[in-house]
Symmetry: C2
Subunit: 394 residues, 2 copies
């Protein structure tokens, strides 16, 4: 037996206890938690085969009360002696996609981001926000198969693009490859077709939170997106962090959303709509270029889930909905390079080099932390990806 | 042993042999084919457990060569004596969703439909088609969980809508509930992230074809869809037919697409782009109101799949992509009521009643047939759904 001790300032102390899926050479992936830099196999620790599985889905499907009970049990157990066969050094394991993703929806919940994109994509519109934006959390479905775990290389996508003055579109590797720094919310238990998830019940359905990089090919997106929305400009890849931070761990991080004016329709109205005080960091080739503040997001996670289901659309264990780019009011808090460099017109310094969009070989890493109890901080790990050159398409 | 005989004019003769999933009381769902009005259990007939499964996915994943071999074997076997335990009367079985749907994408491949919708949704635009429309098959991701099998009741969705002169949006049951008569293409084998499915190889990936009704709440859609595309106006339900007609059965139904001008970019260019000569029928409360002709579709299924993957997006067994509304040039060939009634301005007679959009209790049934060899016709079964009143949402 071994006792795992973590420093008080660890981002993965006893107040975090995220869930992930790991493997060691020669063994199948299984569910674990993380304490400091130790990965703890939950099937061993708790002697429960629901964790001897390659995704969190089975456990998540057991529902909210079980999430509460298991979290309490883990918290009690990890402070005592732990069986050696449950423990692995973080450096010795491979981390996998933690969730078998069912449906994936990407929102657009930052007013700063939506307004910036409006100014960039639709410069002739007097109001950068669309008329619907403050009435509903605008979102669209994305490609579930394209969600990959941190560390997966990203092949530069090819596609059609057309400059304003080009007579016809051209095909080739994207020349405006971008990121979107977001949070992703993992749905633990769903709702049947015809049913809804009311805002006040959303917390019982949202299992946890991951970092989410919605890689975006702006040139492909700009040409394709009218009238049915983004498709190939986004569908090539999205990167998530391997550790799902339980929403239960984020109670101390809850903050009111910005004031919502006009008042949302009743199905979206909450007495106290809560956001999360998560500080993100965007590193470009190891240099921090932005610190997007999740607390600035206009629409709350509960409102997003309530909206998604208000038409009776079914939701399922493993659904992921992402927040959309997190951008604050200041330039150095913008969560996408198209905003940070104002469409490429205003390059940013990346370790002394002037950059606009991503070049082959570039690596982007999202990380984040949020307040825990008693002055502690909780970490989200990282969502990291490196750009590989486009493949030749005949 | 029993011999199943079918009349020469059966839509489910030996040249069709679609795949579906059935169950009888007390037994789990399994894969079957259909001959006339007889359902034939394939796990029994072929003594292969890949068919003792609640979806076609396992079989589809075995790949094109196996699809060819199994189809040949079934065709040989069903003309001889058949084991009684493999046979069920169609009337005695329950048919299930045949596919475990992975990602779902809806296209917009009918020029007539896209132009009609452009005129209705964007009347001020001089060109009803968007500039991108003839350069790429426009599409968007939809909600995989919402795809249900024929016969499933459809609850009228609630959502936000805003009339042109309303000061603010209102919430309530959709008052412009519509259909979209489409074909859905089931992907049998996918492609890895970073890879593509070239147009000429698409036939080896597309397993089969179903009828697809993309129920659409036009009022919800109109208010939400700018700039990220349709979401809740569509995500509440889509109905597919229970029988997947193999693409292998549709060789005699292949026809050239309409002339594609301008010439598509090389990744979409085909020497002979093929569509399918499928005649659909839309019945509204038992009265045929439209006969959409699939042969009119501008973009071909192979082009849609090639486009979907040209950016390296992964595709998977069980992906479904739908064609978008099938509308021909004439009014009585339009596949959506918003077109058929010109936005509700020009009601259609449904058994003597004047109708625009769907009322509670209405039932819509899509059916279709296509040419088989030697003057035969192949049927697609039906995609049927009845509208239930909206649920009260507090």
């Amino acid at each position: 037996m071994t006792t795992v001790t973590v420093p008080d300032d660890s981002l993965f102390g006893v107040h975090n206890l995220p869930y992930g899926v790991y493997s060691v050479a020669g063994s199948p992936p299984r569910v674990a938690t993380r304490l400091g830099d130790t990965v703890i196999d939950l099937a061993v620790l708790l002697a429960d085969d629901v964790f001897a599985a390659p995704s969190l889905n089975g456990f998540m499907a057991q529902g909210y009360d079980r999430w509460v009970a298991v979290r309490r049990e883990i918290a009690e157990r990890v402070t005592g002696d732990l069986p050696d066969e449950a423990l692995h050094d973080l450096a010795d394991v491979t981390l996998h996609l933690p969730v078998e993703v069912a449906d994936y929806v990407d929102f657009y919940a930052s007013e700063h981001h939506a307004a910036n994109l409006g100014r960039l994509f639709r410069p002739d519109n007097p109001d950068p926000l669309m008329p619907n934006w403050k009435h509903l959390p605008v979102g669209y479905h994305g490609r579930a198969a394209s969600i990959v775990v941190s560390g997966t290389d990203i092949v530069r996508p090819c596609g059609q693009r057309k400059g304003k003055d080009d007579p016809a579109p051209v095909f080739g590797p994207s020349v405006r490859l971008d990121i979107e720094a977001e949070l992703g919310f993992v749905v633990g238990t769903g709702s049947a077709m015809g049913e809804t998830v009311p805002v006040e019940e959303a917390e019982r359905h949202i299992f946890g939170v991951v970092l989410f990089n919605d890689w975006s090919a702006r040139d492909i997106q700009a040409w394709e997106y009218v009238p049915l929305g983004p498709n190939l400009g986004k569908s090539f890849a999205s990167t998530i962090s391997p550790w799902v931070v339980p929403l239960l761990a984020l109670e101390p991080a809850k903050v009111p959303t910005p004031v919502q004016d006009p008042e949302p329709l009743p199905y979206l109205a909450m007495e106290r709509p809560w956001g999360l005080d998560v500080d993100l960091s965007v590193q470009w080739n190891g240099h921090e270029v932005s610190r997007p503040p999740y607390r600035e997001m206009y629409w709350s996670p509960a409102q997003m889930l309530a909206h998604l289901t208000v038409n009776g659309a079914p939701s399922r264990t493993g659904d992921v909905f992402a927040s959309g780019t997190i951008s604050g009011p200041d330039k150095d808090t913008r969560g996408a390079f198209i905003e940070l460099t104002w469409g490429g017109a205003d390059p940013v310094s990346v370790g002394g080099e002037q950059r606009t969009f991503l070049e082959d070989g570039d690596e982007v890493t999202l990380s984040a932390s949020a307040p825990g109890p008693g002055g502690t901080r909780l970490g989200f790990g990282e969502a990291r990806g490196r750009i590989l050159p486009a493949r030749k398409i005949s």
